[in-house]
Amino acid sequence: MSKIDLLRITDRGLYCDAGDFHIDPWLPVDRALITHAHGDHARWGSLRYAGARDGRHVLQTRLGESADIETFDYGEHLSMNGVSVSFHPAGHILGSAQIRVEHRGEVWVVSGDYKAEPDPTCQPFEPVSCHTFVTESTFGLPIYRWAPQSEAFADIAAWWRTNAEAGRASIIFAYALGKAQRVLAGLAHLGEASFYTHGAVERLNRDYRASGIDLPATTYVASVPRGHDWAGALVLAPPSASGSTWIRRFGAASTAFASGWMRVRGARRRRSVDRGFVVSDHVDWPALMSAIEATRAQRILVTHGYRDPVVRFLRERGLESDSLASRWEGEGDEDVMPRGEEISE
């Protein structure tokens, strides 16, 4: 047991001694490998970054024009001080990756954030065999169980139709990076709907399109002249726009929040939105369990989310499991609005 772990938590992040690099560090380091571009995983200030090629544009937007970012194809091997590292699709958002680290025959996989459901805006999650699996646990309780996403999108479409018939706009709050684009893509078949976007969403739409992702046509809200009739509009905005003055222009609109948290009624009511649609970019409880099983890992380290229950549950099923204290937040129930994302309105 005295053997030093391949990866360990330091005050800066998850560190690999043998390879001398950090994964998703929360404080600046020399060499940072990034699972995906969300603010709690991709932080400013490190000297050099590496990530998956698909995420090139969104990473650059999030980390700033001057950030030194090198990107790699999924599955491509790079050597860091003799430690073999590769990125594998995590299915979370565009360019999201699990990071596989191999040294002297021992394999670790760090999941970052991930989901198992299909998503037209990113490569599907791919299970990677390993000895130790470091997994997120954002929705690591059995109350979190997603219905097929076709149901959620059908609900959104029905809600939008009712609003359109009543002459109202429909505003969906969704995280500007990833969720908003997934929702747009999921509603692309609503040919008759006009999609409008908040600046924060539009900025990332640009990156998605530049990366070759097909999104329906969107109109940037700020470019629409005053006095516009918003009846029937479908507006995508970040959660932080809720309750802001920006929202007033839409008049008596109906509001909704798209998130896995919406599975629980109290979470929706606290948001003070009319509707909550369960659309999550994280695994639910059953998918978390099958993903863990698919890695065939003997040891499971659990980070951000419901760590303790997941660890206990895994131990009761005979797996070696521990909680790993990171500063990653997953899909917080909070507004996530990292700097660099906003476009002035």
Binding site: L141, P142, R263, V264, G266, P309, R312, D333
Partner: protein
Amino acid sequence: MKAFARLFAAIDSTTRTNEKVDAVARYLSAASAEDAAWAVYFLSGGRPRRLVPVRRLASWAMDASGIPDWLFEESYHAVGDLAETIALLLPESTESSDAPFHFWVEKRLFALAGLDEEGQRRIALDAWRDLGGTERFVWNKLITGSFRVGVSQALLVRAVSRASGVPEATISHRLAGEWKPDADSYRRLVAEGSGQPDVSNPYPFFLGYPLEGELEDLGAVGDWQAEWKWDGIRAQLIRRRGSTYLWSRGNDLITERFPEVVAASEWLPEGTVIDGELLPWREGRPLPFAQLQRRIGRKNLSAKIRSEVPVVILAYDLLELDGVDVRERPLAWRRLRLSELIGSANAESRILVSPVVGAAVWEDVRAARERARAMGSEGLMLKRNDAAYGVGRRKGGWWKWKLEPWSVDAIMVYAQPGHGRRALLHTDYTFAVRDGDALVPFAKAYSGLTDAEIRELDTWIRRNTIEKFGPVRAVRPEQVFELGFEGIQASPRHKSGIAVRFPRILRWRKDKPVAEADTIQALRLLLEQTDS
């Protein structure tokens, strides 16, 4: 059940009153009288007593969903609502039921009461198999006796009126009092004409709005009656056909809780209805509200508790005289009749007229409010002399002008997640005052912060937890809050020796260091001021 669950979902997914009224009216128009009667029952807050112990329900749910009890507990902490937790954990329903709402309520829900554990289990499991999504959630809320929905009585009245075409005032009066949820009751409720169904029926209560602006804005002081606002149980005393009925504002029939008041009422003439406040009362002044709570809490009303906590009703208003509804008469007229009536019938001093504050100028009213605390009152009511006795909370005729709460600067020491709307976030806080170098917890508060502050504080709590006891976190004693409360009294049951009434957060004092928070001595001083 399907239609009622849809109604619940419709109400639950909007904050617009009009949409809620529409949804309820639509449901009532389409429903059978049997179903509508139960909908009225549940929408007006009717709750059957708990029919199955929740432990049992939880254990069947654990079996059915195949998860261990500790994981069930964790899930419950995250959801904050037992009925919802169960609904979320159970496997998806495999059947679907078209049985009407009254069938589910009468033949399933209420059938539970007479069954043994195995019989109850079978009903619960069958229901979970037949009901999915919102239906299952609503069923669980009904079975746990915790069904609540965002519908006020006024909204329900509007909806019934819209569905039936009967005027709101008539519906409101017919709905006051106890609702018998059967088809006949519903047909009577929506029948044309102005028939008054029941001899025991109270009138809807009239309520005041908090005063906005200055006293002077109300016009001439002579047009207004100022009276003490008491902190007891608002009630209607009804004397009809030789019987007395005592109703609380929550539409509970509480006649049996107050035999001394009932005995005193036997002197009242036939056809009398009085609006007043039940108060624990000794030597011409009220006892603390907690004394009344102590008495209400007793199953058996012993001679001892009755002598320790004697109760009177202080009459504010007269609503019915000689069997005639006088609510449309001006307040000054009603008040005069009330004084004549009670002056002559008041044999045991259990029914008193609540005194009016004499005022020649508005300054007198202000001065009276300053005296309110010493009187044991929570402020003043201002009522227009020519105002009718209205229905519900309306602006204009009546204003309430309560005392500013007392306040102290206290330090947060514990936090735990809230329930319902506030589950997942830490929203229930325990506060302490300083006692030398120690901290003495003295109050819990749940409200007063904005949603943004709650989220900010939640993040702080998660990062500054010293110790966890189940869902409760002990946090670093670093955050100071200004707490307001309405009353204070000595309490041997509290560690601090002090209990405060209605504590709430007035402000987050980020500017205040812990060393400047208040001390236990400051609280004791406040206590002395009240006692004197």
